[in-house]
C-alpha cells in the first residue's frame, strides 16, 4: 500500500512541502497548529484588555487592528469583540488543538508506535494536511473581507448567523460565509485523516502487535478517529445548509415572520427551525470535546508509564473506558441545550447520560492516579506537564457536573462558569498535555533533547498562570455574568466581580509571556539541543526502536512486538524496561 514511494529520491519540494511521509506531514501539522494556537490565543489577549479595562484604548496593538475591530481611538468595538471571540473559539478548536492532537501527534507517533513504515494512504494524508491548510487560510481571510470576520460565536447559531455580515457586504465574500467555507474544508480534512487512521491501525500493525498490545495512545487515536468520522459529517452538512440559507435564502434554519431592525425578513420563505442547527452542531461538538481530550489522555498515559517506570494501572480498564466514553459522547449532546425549551422527559434523558459519561472519566483519572502508586517517579519536563494535567483536568471534569444537571444549569448556563469549565478541560488540561507530548517526542523527531532549564521556565509560569486565567471565571459565572459580553460592568454584578476579571486578564498576558521560553526552546533545540540516542527516555514502545530522527520508511528492519506496551520494572530483570521489540532471548 505504501511501499511504492519509498524507492526514489525526492527533491526538496516533494520531500518537505508536498511530502507523502507521515513524519513530515506530522511536523507540518504540528508547526502550523502551534502557530494557529498562538494566534488564537493572541486574539484573546486583546479581548481580555476590553474586559479588564472596558472602553479604554488597547495598548501596543490598538492602532493597527483596523476599522472592523477598533474605533479611531483604538478601543475595541462590540462587533470587533464578537468577531475576535468567534475566531478565537474556532481557531483554537479547529485550527489549533484538533490538528495538533490528531494531525500532529497522531500522524507522527501512531505509525511508529505500531511499527508501520507510513500511513495506509499517504496521498490521502497529504491531502488532509493541505485541505486543513487551505481551511486555515480561508478562516483567516475572514479578517480581511468587507465587514470583518465572522462574529456570531464559534457556535454560529442561526438566525443570527444566517443574517450576520449580510448588510452592505459582498454576498459570498463576507465573514460568516467565509467562516462556513473554512469549516467545510476543515471538516473534510478531518474526515480524510480519520479514515486513514482507522485503516492504518487496523491493517498496518507489525507482527505480534495485537490490539491489546497497542500503546494506550494508539487506542486513544483509534477511538478519536471514529468520533471524527461519525460526528463531523452532520456539521459539514449543516454548514452547507447554512451556506444555502445565507447565499440563496433557503430557510433550513429560518422560521417565518422574523423582523430584524424593523425589516420583515420576507426574503426567506420561512418554516425552518433554528434549533435544528443546534442539534446538528452539538451532535458534532460534544464528541468534539472528546476528540480534544482523548489524544491528550493518551499522551499523558504514555508519559506517566515512562516516568513512573511501571505499567499503566489497569490498561484494559483504560481501554474499555475510552471506548465507552467515545460511545457515550454521541448521546449527551443536548445537555448544551437544556434552556431551549426542553421538557422534563428530554432533560432527564440527557442529564442521565451526562452523569453516566462522567463515570468512565472518573475511572480514567483514577487509573492514571493509581499508576503513580509504588512507581519510581522521575520529574522530567514532559512528566511535569503530564502530572499537571491530572488536577486541572479534574477541575474541568468536576465543574461539568453543575452544568450537566439541568436544575443547576439554569443559573450557570451561558455564564463565565461554562467558560471556566470547558477551558479547564481544553487549555490547562489538553493543551498542557500536548505541550508535554512535544517535550516527550521532540528527541525522536529531531534527535536532540529540548533544554530542561527552558522547559522549567516554561512549565512553572504556565501552570500558575493557567489557573490565574481560568479559576476566577467560576466566581464570575456564579455571580451571574453572561458570557460574550463586551462590557460586563453594564451590570451591577459585573462591577462586583471586576477584580476577578482583571486577575484573569493579567493572568492571560503573563501566560502569553510564559510561552517565550517554549518558542525559543522549540526552535533553538532543533540544531543546538543535546544529541541523544534513539531511546533517551528508556521507553518501551516501538517508536523508540526506530532511529532518531527516523528515516523515510521508519525502521531499519521491520520490528516484531513480543510483549505489551508498558513492561517497566519487571521483577528480577536487570534493566527496568523491556522494549516491545526485543525478544526474550536478548533481554538482560
Amino acid at each position: 500500500m505504501s511501499s511504492d514511494h519509498h524507492a526514489h529520491n525526492p527533491g526538496f519540494i516533494s520531500k518537505y512541502v508536498f511530502s507523502l511521509d507521515h513524519k513530515v506531514i506530522g511536523v507540518q501539522y504540528t508547526v502550523t497548529s502551534l502557530i494557529f494556537l498562538f494566534f488564537g490565543f493572541s486574539l484573546m489577549m486583546i479581548m481580555r484588555w476590553q474586559l479588564a479595562y472596558p472602553g479604554e484604548s488597547i495598548p501596543l496593538v490598538g492602532g493597527w487592528l483596523g476599522k472592523y475591530l477598533v474605533d479611531n481611538n483604538g478601543v475595541l468595538l462590540p462587533e470587533g469583540y464578537n468577531a475576535l471571540g468567534a475566531m478565537h473559539g474556532t481557531i483554537m478548536v479547529f485550527l489549533g488543538v484538533v490538528p495538533l492532537a490528531v494531525g500532529g501527534f497522531g500522524n507522527y507517533v501512531m505509525p511508529l508506535q505500531i511499527g508501520a513504515p507510513d500511513m495506509a494512504f499517504p496521498k490521502l494524508n497529504m491531502a488532509s494536511y493541505w485541505v486543513y491548510f487551505l481551511g486555515g487560510v480561508t478562516m483567516l481571510a475572514g479578517f480581511f473581507v468587507p465587514g470583518g470576520a465572522a462574529n456570531s460565536g464559534w457556535t454560529s447559531y442561526p438566525p443570527l448567523a444566517d443574517i450576520a455580515n449580510t448588510v452592505g457586504t459582498h454576498p459570498f465574500w463576507n465573514g460568516q460565509t467565509v467562516w462556513l467555507l473554512g469549516m467545510v474544508l476543515l471538516i473534510t480534512s478531518s474526515l480524510l485523516g480519520s479514515v486513514n487512521f482507522i485503516v492504518t491501525i487496523m491493517h498496518l500493525r507489525v507482527k505480534g502487535l495485537t490490539m491489546f498490545r497497542l500503546p494506550f495512545f494508539v487506542w486513544a487515536q483509534f477511538v478519536t478517529s471514529f468520533l471524527l468520522l461519525l460526528a463531523f459529517p452532520p456539521l459539514e452538512a449543516a454548514g452547507v445548509l447554512q451556506l444555502m440559507d445565507r447565499a440563496f435564502h433557503t430557510s433550513f434554519f429560518m422560521p417565518e415572520g422574523l423582523v430584524v431592525s424593523g425589516v420583515v425578513q420576507d426574503q426567506f420563505a420561512g418554516g425552518g427551525s433554528p434549533l435544528l442547527w443546534q442539534h446538528l452542531f452539538w451532535f458534532l461538538a460534544h464528541p468534539e470535546v472528546y476528540v480534544l481530550i482523548l489524544p491528550a489522555i493518551g499522551i499523558v498515559g504514555e508519559i506517566i508509564a515512562n516516568n513512573t517506570r511501571r505499567p499503566l494501572w489497569g490498561y484494559k480498564t483504560l481501554v474499555y473506558s475510552v471506548i465507552f466514553l467515545g460511545f457515550m459522547s454521541f448521546v449527551v449532546w443536548a445537555h448544551h441545550m437544556f434552556l431551549t425549551g426542553m421538557g422534563t422527559a428530554m432533560s432527564t434523558f440527557f442529564q442521565t447520560t451526562t452523569m453516566i459519561i462522567s463515570i468512565p472519566s472518573v475511572v480514567i483519572l483514577t487509573a492514571l492516579l493509581l499508576s503513580l502508586w509504588q512507581g519510581s517517579i522521575r520529574f522530567t519536563v514532559p512528566m511535569l506537564f503530564a502530572l499537571s494535567f491530572l488536577p486541572m483536568f479534574a477541575i474541568g471534569g468536576l465543574t461539568g457536573l453543575p452544568l450537566g444537571l439541568s436544575a443547576s444549569d439554569i443559573q450557570l448556563h451561558d455564564t463565565y462558569y461554562v467558560i471556566g469549565h470547558f477551558h479547564y478541560v481544553v487549555a490547562p488540561g489538553t493543551i498542557m498535555a500536548l505541550l508535554g507530548g512535544i517535550y516527550f517526542w521532540y528527541p525522536k523527531v529531531t534527535g536532540r533533547k529540548m533544554s530542561t532549564f527552558l522547559g522549567h521556565l516554561h512549565f512553572w509560569p504556565s501552570f500558575v498562570f493557567m489557573n490565574t486565567v481560568f479559576f476566577p471565571m467560576f466566581m464570575v459565572g456564579l455571580a451571574g455574568i453572561s458570557r460574550r459580553l463586551w462590557d460586563q460592568t453594564e451590570y451591577v454584578q459585573g462591577i462586583d466581580v471586576q477584580g476577578w476579571v482583571r486577575m484573569s486578564s493579567w493572568g492571560a498576558w503573563a501566560l502569553g509571556l510564559a510561552q517565550i521560553p517554549f518558542i525559543i526552546n522549540f526552535f533553538y533545540s532543533a540544531f543546538a539541543g543535546k544529541k541523544v540516542n534513539e531511546n533517551p527516555w528508556k521507553a518501551t514502545t516501538l517508536e523508540w526502536a526506530a532511529p532518531s530522527p527516523p528515516p523515510h520508511g521508519n525502521f531499519a528492519e521491520v520490528p516484531v512486538a513480543y510483549r505489551g506496551p508498558y513492561e517497566y520494572s519487571v521483577p528480577d530483570a536487570k534493566e527496568d524496561f523491556h522494549p516491545q521489540h526485543v525478544p526474550d532471548s536478548q533481554l538482560v
Partner: protein, 329 residues
Amino acid sequence: MIASSFWLPPDISAHGSQIDIIIKYLHWFMAVLFVAWGSYFLYCLVRFRAGANPKATYRDAKAKPSKMAEVVVIIIEAILLVGFSIPVWAYYRSEPPGNDANPLTVRVVAQQFAWNIHYPGPDGKFGKSKPELVDEAINPIGLVDASEDPNAADDYVSVNIFHAPKDRDILVRLSSKDVIHSFAVPLLRVKQDAVPGMEIPIWFKAEKTNAEAQEMMKRAFALPASPEGEEAETFVKENRLRVTMADYGSVRKGSTLNAEHLKTLSAAGITSVELAPGFPVNIQCAQLCGLGHYRMKGQMKIYEPDEFEEWYASAGEEEVFDEDEFDDE
C-alpha cells in the same frame, strides 16, 4: 452583595433556593473529591519520587479503596440527579402550581437589543400581532389595531421595564422577533432561551420587591480620602450603578452617586456611605445576539401586590414607551 455564599447573587424567587442548594451541595461534593484526590496525588509525588523509591513495583496496586470511591461517586451523582435535579427541573418546567389561581400572564418578545413586555390589560387577553405592523418607534411587537382585534384595545407594552407583583405566580410566554436571545434574571434564578418561531412558557414567583432586594444588596463603602483626583474618579465610576440608601444632607436618597455628591459628602465630614443598586433586579441577555448583546439590559420592577394593581390599572394610559427612571446614569 456577594456575601451570599458561593458568590451567588441574592435569591429573591420562590424556587431559587432549590437551585442554590444543588449548586452548594455539588460544590461541596466537588471540593471533597478534589481534596481527597489531590492529597493522594501529592502524597504519591513525594512518597514515590525516584529518590525515595528507586525501584518501581511491577504489579498493579490493589484498588479496593478507589473502587469504593468510584461507587460512592456514582451513588452521590445518582442522588443529586434523581433526588434533586430532575424534580427541581420538573417543577420549574411545569405550569404554575394550582394553589395560585390567578397567575399574571405576560408575553415577553425579545429583539435586538431590547425586551418588550406585553401585558394583556384588564381583559386578560392578548391582542394579535403581525410582523408587517412592526414599527420600532411606536409599535415594536406589531400589535394589531383594536378595530381588527378588540383584545388589543387595552394591551400595554413596556420596553425594558418588567413591572411585576411579588408573591404572585408570573407566567411568561417568551418569544423573539429576530434572533435567539436568552431571558436571564440572576436574582430570580430564571433563564430561558427566546427562540424565534417558538413561544416558550416559563414561570416564577418573586418573594421580594425591588426595595427589599436593595435592602439585601446594600453595602457600606468608605469614601476616598479626597473628593478629587484619580481615586475619587474611580470610586464614582465603579459605583455608578448604585444609589445612596439614605439622605446625606443634599445627597438625596435614590440618586446615583456622582462627583458633586462626593464633594458635598466630603465637606460634611462623611467618610462612609451605604450604597445599593438603583435597579437591583437585572434582566440580562444570556445568548449572543449581535453587537448590542452586552447592553441588552432590562430591569424588573417588583412591587407589593396592591401597588402593582395600582400601576397596572393606569398602565394603559401612559405612553407605550415608558422608560421612566430607566436611564440611571
